[in-house]
């Protein structure tokens, strides 16, 4: 029997997404086992809960690292994933990072981590492309002061300004703050063509709602931390027309029909935004082990680096920095309380 570690938050505010990813990995494992396992061995999983908190992530990662696992799939919160890189690096365990995509992960990677979600750089490129095409020249950026959203906000600002545009308002909100009126006023007084929220859906929903309530009429865009359908619950009708940059979620992936059905059957609910990536990540890892022909970490790492695998979320090949070679970002748009493809 071969063990696979899953590093995701299963408690705390991000628990739903973590659980969702864990379920997807388990689904993949079930399929692999049904098909005879890897190197003739059956797979099993161990979950490490990082709680989306760096300290807890270190504990969880150490637990996984000492549980005799062959590889790890997971990583949702960038802030919690960064300090685990050294642990898995020291223990020399291959780590497929399924969701976390801050560019700060790249320099901290000791070489055994592989990011299969497009990074912030790709997202910024997509965002700028979209804004430019839609006549936006002044952009307000709002982040939440955590590793992921600050990184995305900084990158956007830098590239946006280099492209000759302006950022008349660059704001930070604290997680869990319910009242955004002061920021809304600051944005309204700067009167930008668009507002870009780079953080998670929960607070994003509140911001969108309050922006619209206060009469802001420009465009509103959100990053891939807000691609959850929950956004519409929180923002209500104010989220109509909101644009989101995201990896394609399951319903927009033509190859994912079977996955959606299987997942829903196994878990009683539809897969969330990062389930497809987690599912692909597991299959990718299994393939790499198979290719390596042994559980030797160096061999698996080499196999991962050389992967060319097409999963339900598209093709996975890596850059020399172990990041996804292509950009997987698409533009979504809120319509009638759900995301639709904008392009």
């Amino acid at each position: 029997e071969m063990k696979i570690g899953i590093l995701v938050p299963t408690t705390g505010s991000e628990a739903t997404y973590g659980q969702d990813m864990a379920n997807a990995v388990d689904l993949a494992i079930a399929e692999i086992n049904a098909a005879g396992g890897v190197l003739g061995e059956q797979l099993s999983s161990v979950v490490g809960d990082d709680g989306c908190d760096p300290q807890q992530a270190v504990n969880a990662a150490s637990k996984l690292a000492s549980s005799d696992v062959t590889g790890i799939v997971g990583g949702y919160c960038s802030g919690a994933t960064v300090p685990t890189l050294k642990i898995f690096g020291d223990a020399n365990i291959p780590f497929v990072i399924a969701a976390a995509n801050s560019t700060k992960l790249i320099p901290a990677n000791p070489g055994n981590a592989f990011m299969i979600n497009s990074t912030g750089n790709d997202q910024v490129a997509k965002a700028i492309e979209y804004f430019t095409a839609n006549g936006v020249s002044s952009l307000a950026i709002v982040n939440q002061g955590d590793a992921y959203s600050q990184d995305l906000a900084d990158l956007t600002k830098k590239n946006w300004e280099e492209a000759g545009n302006t950022v008349p308002a660059f704001e930070v909100a604290n997680k869990g703050e319910q009242d955004y009126s002061a920021i809304v006023t600051a944005i309204r007084s700067a009167n930008p063509d668009a507002v870009f929220w780079t953080a998670y859906y929960a607070d994003g929903g509140l911001l969108i709602r309050q922006l619209r309530q206060a009469g802001y009429q420009g465009k509103i865009a959100v990053g891939d931390g807000s691609n959850s359908p929950e956004l519409f619950n929180i923002a209500g009708s104010a989220a109509d027309g909101v644009v989101g940059f995201s990896n394609p979620t399951a319903e927009f992936l033509p190859e994912a029909k079977a996955f959606i059905a299987d997942y829903t059957e196994a878990n009683g609910s539809a897969p969330g935004p990062y389930a497809p990536l987690a599912y692909d990540g597991m299959h990718l890892l299994a393939k790499a082990i198979e290719t390596a022909g042994s559980t030797d970490a160096e061999a698996i790492n080499a196999a991962l680096a050389a992967s060319d695998y097409t999963g339900i979320a598209g093709q996975i090949t890596f850059t020399p920095e172990n990041t996804l070679a292509r950009s997987n970002f698409v533009v979504l748009q809120g319509k009638g309380g759900a995301w639709t493809l904008a392009e």
Binding site: T10, T11, A15, D49, D53, P54, Q55, V58, N59, S62, K63, A65, S66, S67, S78, G79, V82, P83, L85, K86, D90, A91, S102, K104, P107, A108, G145, D146, A147, S149, Q150, D151, D154, V172
Partner: protein, 320 residues
Amino acid sequence: MAQPRSNAFNNIIAQFNEPWKRYTAFAVIIALLLIAPISLGPYATVILTNALLYVVLALGLNVVVGYAGLLDLGYAAFFAVGAYTVGILTHTFGLNFWVTLPVAVGAAVVAGIVIGTPTLRLRSDYLAIVTLGFGEIVRFTARNLDITGGASGISGIQQPWLFGWHINTPFEFYYVFVVLAILAVIVSVRLQNSRLGRAWLYVRHDEDAAEAMGIDTVRVKLAAYVIGAIFGAIAGAFFAVNLGAISPESFSFQQSVLILMAVILGGMGKIPGVILGAFIVVLAPELLRDMGEFRLLLFAVGLLLVMLFRPSGIWPVRGK
């Protein structure tokens, strides 16, 4: 007070009143600490390392809260000062860790004096909010500045060398923290039994009477503050090189609260109690790891029950 309810534990502790029994107990504990990683494996080693880190932090906060009676809700700030000083100086400026360590201590002393001098005259509840505010100011500043790496913090901090030995693996760090914790205990014990240690108690029990006895209460309180800050900064420095990555999230209000919890849960002012408290706040959530969603709920309920049954902390009040 509500002590008689749990006499069994008191009785066990009372067994160790004789010095030779106590020293034997110490020896056994230290021996257990030394062999723990070998028998428990790497995961337990990391968790124990973390527990030892909290021992140092809690003993430091204990000087401030337990000895001098100053309620500090922002202790993580000093922890942060130590971690960031080392992080910035080694990572960004490439200095040797051992050179940056005294700088970190110096920075903590300065921070302690800067925040302590104007505010130590405040009554304890007001001091609580000032320290909370100070802690948040430090965290927000770390989050907003470039030199501190913003919200992502600093990663890739190099592990130190000691006489040609690269302290690198979790096991090695474990032993480093064993040494730190033992030093922290020794320093705490010596301080507690010193003139300064008694002065803290006097100030804590009756400030006016202490003044009347010729004790410069402001100075004595400041000393507690600064010494607490030094403990925190040293813990922070080693925390930074151990993890290799630091970020503002590690120095939040919740962190301060957790350390305070360790101090009070075990028994404020009592060194074995504080150590016990530190182990509990680190180990309990880990032991409950398999409870999934219910983990923190169970921890909270447990905490509540402990406080209700042992209002003065788990460790018994000194027997007379």
